[in-house]
Assembly symmetry: C2
Homo-oligomer: 492 residues x 2
């Protein structure tokens, strides 16, 4: 009997060696195909998540993988949406990222700690499903492993760790608490996996059989890579949810005549900026995140509009983020990554000068992404923004700074003829102008599909810049007043 066992072990070791070699070879295949892989390893404390990852990576090329062990930030200290550390850590094309526990542990532990309410839990489960689907649709190979051990095994392992001076620190208070609450955790893990297993299935591995678990994980990974390389990125019916949308007029139907007299402009500007300054203080203290998105025609007056908002704000609490074409390392990741990594801390105001909507405008019209990519993006963006507002409590307002073609031509000409303004005008601006009808149709579609109740679009009539600035300021002030009141009511 003993001999057979030993033979089994030898066979298992040989299998593991062969699979490791295969994975080492596949790393080059991943690079060549630009396929990114995420391996999420969740499971019980002391189930051996770290050791399993260690076994998986030993023998592969450390230049082309990474391991992250995200810390779970206590809810009271969280300054970013809960998905933020995970969304910021996704690998670039061609690389493998191992998560030593991740969003599952985050959500489940906080739920059992009553750090989040039942309602929040539901919202987070939804966000997790959205996040995982977006990764898959964005070309990622996502593998989710749950390392399972029973209560007795966990007890044994924790005892062994705590008896050894070198390892006792590895058993934390949280781990001991989990062991005491084993039953509640079992239920919570099961429930979470049931609710998040539909799009990307969970793979349960028996953590008590270490070698077999390594072999099974390696098999899963290498088989999945084989399949992923062969089939290419996921193509299926794009997922579409019915978001509560605010009806928007067509751009062509917008009356651009509203204007303001100088005197009224100055009066209103002063009043609104003063109010905004006060509100910024409250926002800061209540830690409400505020995200203002600016899009609009070239020469519509975005810059001047932004400056009128920025002026009364405390510079320590706001940022203007100009968005240009994506850099190579940004193109090598899911398209929202470069926005996830630029989110402000809660309590700060962040003004995006152009945004993720580039996906459904310039990237769509210039062919910088595939048709399926921008078609899917409306829904992905709605989800992303809902994660900001619902998971995190952010205020998200979006402004389309609108002018007509004649006004644009007048401003272009003025820029051309004024030496100090010439830098503002590029050849590209003229080229974009020629595509006005195409852009107009794309903008109409964008406004129609993404003006959600939680993150509405506002068309800002900007033939008269003064009118546009006052209108924007007023919308911001009113939205912040509402947000501050709501947070008071909630007792935060």
């Amino acid at each position: 009997m003993e001999k057979e066992n030993k033979e089994n072990k030898t066979a298992l070791s040989a299998e593991i060696r062969a699979l490791r070699d295969k994975l080492l070879g596949q790393q080059q295949l991943l690079r060549a195909k630009g396929l990114p892989v995420i391996v999420l390893v969740e499971g019980w404390s002391a189930a051996g998540k770290g050791s399993l990852i260690n076994e998986l990576i030993s023998g592969i090329d450390p230049r082309f993988y990474n391991v992250v062990s995200p810390q779970i930030v206590p809810e009271a200290q969280a300054r970013y949406p809960f998905l933020h550390p995970y969304a910021c850590a996704i690998p670039e094309n061609g690389k493998i990222m191992f998560f030593d526990a991740g969003w599952m542990e985050d959500v489940v532990r906080k739920r059992l700690r009553r750090d989040i309410t039942g309602e929040q839990y539901k919202t987070r489960v939804r966000s997790v499903n959205e996040f995982e689907r977006q990764l898959r649709d964005g070309g990622y190979l996502l593998l989710k492993i749950f390392l399972d051990i029973d209560r007795k095994e966990q007890h044994e392992r924790m005892r062994a760790l705590r008896e050894n001076y070198e390892t006792e620190w590895r058993v934390t208070e949280d781990d001991l608490w989990q062991h005491r609450e084993y039953k509640a955790f079992r239920e919570a893990y099961d429930e979470f996996m049931e609710k998040t297993g539909e799009t990307i299935p969970w793979i349960r591995l028996d953590g008590s059989k270490r070698k077999a678990a390594v072999r099974d994980a390696l098999r899963l990974i290498t088989d999945s890579i084989d399949r992923g390389v062969e089939q290419g990125r996921y193509v299926g019916e794009p997922f579409k949810e019915k978001f509560p949308l605010i009806p928007m007029p067509k751009l062509a139907d917008v009356d651009l005549s509203p204007a303001l007299e100088d005197e009224e402009y100055r009066r209103e500007l002063k009043k609104l900026q003063k109010r905004l300054k006060q509100l910024h203080n409250v926002i800061y203290r209540k830690r409400i995140p505020v995200i203002l998105c600016y899009e609009g025609w070239d020469a519509a007056g975005k810059g001047g509009n932004i400056r009128r908002i920025a002026r009364p704000l405390d510079p320590r609490g706001f940022d203007v983020i100009p968005i240009a074409s994506p850099l190579p390392h940004e193109l090598a990741r899911q398209f929202l990554w470069r926005f996830w990594t630029r989110l402000p801390r809660s309590g700060h105001v962040c003004i995006f000068d152009r945004t993720w909507y580039g996906r459904v405008m310039v990237e769509r019209l210039e062919g910088y992404c595939a048709e399926a990519d921008w078609k899917r993006a409306y829904n992905e963006i709605n989800e992303f923004e809902r994660q900001l507002t619902d998971d995190w409590g952010a205020v998200v307002l979006k402004f389309w700074i609108h002018i007509d073609q004649d006004t644009q031509l007048a401003r272009f000409t003025d820029r051309q003829n004024t030496p100090e303004k010439q830098w503002k005008l590029t050849e590209e601006d003229w080229r974009n102008r020629e595509k006005w009808p195409l852009y107009e149709a794309a903008v109409d579609e964008m406004l129609e599909k993404t003006s959600t109740e939680n993150a509405p679009w506002y068309i800002i009539e900007s033939n008269d810049k003064k009118y546009a600035r006052i209108k924007t300021l007023r919308i911001v002030v009113e939205a912040l007043e509402r947000a501050c009141e709501e947070h008071i009511t909630r007792g935060l």
Copy 2:
């Protein structure tokens, strides 16, 4: 009398408006010239640093400046070198960065708090001088303002802030402590400014006269930009410090014959990896940062060598960082920025697969930087590494993986003829090979000038890869053993 005062104020306001307009125009000049500007605003609590910055930026284009208010991390929680937050926040070419307090407050406050010793204080002052000089030499315009108020004024202002519900939170315990210890702070500020004012002078502004301070700061900034644009980047005698250097042999004199038998290799590998695994635990718990730098000839065996180091390490505590050509946003900043932003947290091991030494090898030989740049870099790198070891307690080890030309040719040929290895060989490798003598001279100079006692180079004879791996492992193990012992002695 009163009337004259009012006239003065009106004149001052007009001056400020004119200077603001000038600064707005200069922003485009800065962009065109690619000149980055850093404005450090230090000074007393309640002296009005935030308001001053607010006045400076009001009216300029928020797309081309940023404001940071770095938090001072308590020494006990610090996981990075103290300059890290500042070095990571430097602006890219063409932009202005305002620091709302920075490295001065960090060093002075910690000294007065006795968070750092007198010895550490001296080291930090030196590092600050190095950091500022490197910025200037790297083409940055650095302006340092100290906003001064006397004790009575500070008292008045803090009282006013605390009496108002909306502002009372702005006066922190630290501020109150500073007010009680006003005299000690005064002396410490003066001393710090004296010790850091030689290369980049400090400008003191009277914080009690708010409007005049705004005018003076704007004048300082606009005049400096005028001069900076006119004169171009600083060119002077490159600064050179005599670092304690370890004599290095010329590459040509290195005996490449050492080799290991399979059996000894396997025995030693097992022993050393086991020991390294143990040490990694200690390193982690003592929070010692470890940085291993790999450079070497193409096909010298860097990758395999790195894998033998990485294998026994806990994946949650180490990272391999492959360094490729700098990306556009990296080229737009001081050359060490992309390494500052990749430093590991203390307690982690970070393996750089190629390093900042690219500056004095490929960038030098391919003409990617000016002659003055790479000539200055030896000293800059020695300073940078000393900041890692002396300010932060890092272990920094540098390996030159060495082979001769025949061995390289044999390995190139093998790669060419083995399908699984072909990806490792590029046209560039062949081109670099032709420049062997040039590279050899550059490497000799690099080894000679940068093998400091605190961050030594090790030439690793790698004609026999097994010998090379064992030698590297042994050096790492011995260095970590020393570091662990030292940290015990210091009682950390």
